[in-house]
Symmetry: C2
Subunit: 275 residues, 2 copies
């Protein structure tokens, strides 16, 4: 008997992966959570039916969520990750020695607990002494923080369910206030093939609030369309002014000094979305 | 009743697309051919169960197969496309006014005929006066051509079935001889997530024959992993020495002057494959 997991990435298109073993299926307080061991991508975290991360390709998302902003900021001491309970972004954040404290604000404690249990390659740094894990509402954490962070990374699910408020204009205003005067934030902003409207809306909202707004892409095989975007809003520093020679050589599998600026060069149809 | 087309991109992973209408299913002399109208990607050409092109995302592959080499060569007059019976690469080739003649050598006349009938947006330039369509074996065409072409583009299927010889070392040697003394060729070389061995093998073979070898990538949602690679072998001109300001503004939806060099900046795990 063969068991396959299928995610409908749109109502009319999906990916399908052969299952080796189903480890967890649970309705948490916030969402449907599954941990599946797949033949092609290894262990896979699924929330509300959507692939969040897999052992085989997780490094792309986690590196590309963390390093472009942390390299652009000259001295990122205080960092906040909103969401990201699997711990992958945190693992990348603490590769930067200037980071004194990395706070994780994840609403669903079950995501953290199961990631620690089943995804140790990803979640293994959540107990690091420079990491402060706070189980709670990231939106509230943002609203209650003023002039506090150098870098904020929004590692949310899609804008349905618990993450919906994290795509509202008011949230970006809150982020602006939670950042120091030279702070930078970055958010995952889905893909341009199926969610062009979302990318456009976030781009407009962030441009109203931050003087420097840049969008970059990364190839993630298990995410819809394989081309994922991130939107960066910055008060002072421009990622495109970072010289390749000044980018530190980090222990990475995707991000490189050469890729830092190249990732911001987008296909014409994506450039056109952002005009 | 819902009908879905599923391509197993590996034995354990695939994509699945809801079908609006099945237009053609036929066993040609060379392969299984299907033309399906899908809800998400529009009409789709499928050969031996593998998606070759779709109306929604075809522009990425066709532009990226054609323009980097044609822009790198300062005066591409004689161009050969091996395979590519859907006509998409030819459509891009003739956007370059210097091209005097674009020869298409496609082994399967049925691909050409059905593409003209069902994919006119893609195949519509096959009757252009500067295009010479030859139904026949591309390998033999290469072997019989000496010092003839400025640019050769290999638009093949995967290295199974009729396209298998197009990934052999002897084929690249034949291409070298079919090119003029300053010629350039480019071939599609699959994806680095599932076919790393193939990319490595082609890279080694081409490096033995051509002094300049470069690999670049493009995001194609319906191709395995969403990250497709192309390998370019050049006798004289280096695509990385092309200045952005000298790239013509073509009528494209993916390729841009800005992307010309950025497409060659690869993730670290792909760089490592090519060492």
């Amino acid at each position: 008997m063969e068991l396959w997991f299928t995610e409908k990435q749109t109502p009319e298109f999906g990916i399908t992966a052969k299952i080796r073993e189903t480890l967890v299926t649970e309705k948490t307080e916030y969402q449907d959570l599954a941990l599946i061991d797949t033949e092609e991508f290894g262990r896979m975290l699924v929330l509300d039916g959507m692939v969040m991360t897999t052992v085989k390709d997780e490094f792309v998302y986690h590196e590309m969520a963390a390093h472009p902003a942390l390299v652009t900021h000259p001295d990122p001491k205080q960092v906040l990750v909103v969401g990201g309970g699997d711990g992958g972004v945190i693992r990348e954040v603490i590769k930067h020695p200037q980071v004194e404290k990395a706070v994780l604000a994840e609403i669903d404690g079950k995501v953290i607990a199961y990631s620690k249990q089943y995804l140790p390659e990803i979640a293994g740094q959540l107990d690091h002494p420079r990491v402060d894990v706070q189980v709670g509402d990231g939106y509230m954490h943002i609203i209650q923080s003023k002039d506090k962070y150098d870098v904020i990374i929004v590692d949310s699910t899609e804008p349905v369910g618990p993450a919906a408020p994290l795509f509202e204009r008011g949230f970006y205003q809150g982020i602006h206030e939670a950042l120091k005067e030279d702070g930078i934030f970055v958010a995952q902003t889905d893909n341009p093939w199926f969610k062009a409207d979302l990318i456009q809306k976030v781009n407009r909202d962030v441009k109203d609030i931050f003087p420097i707004v840049r969008v970059y892409g990364a190839n993630i095989p298990t995410y819809p369309s394989g081309l994922w975007t991130f939107t960066m809003g910055s008060k002072k520093y421009d990622p495109l002014e970072v010289e390749e020679a000044s980018v530190p050589e980090l222990d990475t599998r995707y991000y490189t000094p050469r890729l830092h600026r190249a990732a911001f060069v987008l296909p014409r149809f994506v450039e056109d979305l952002l005009k």
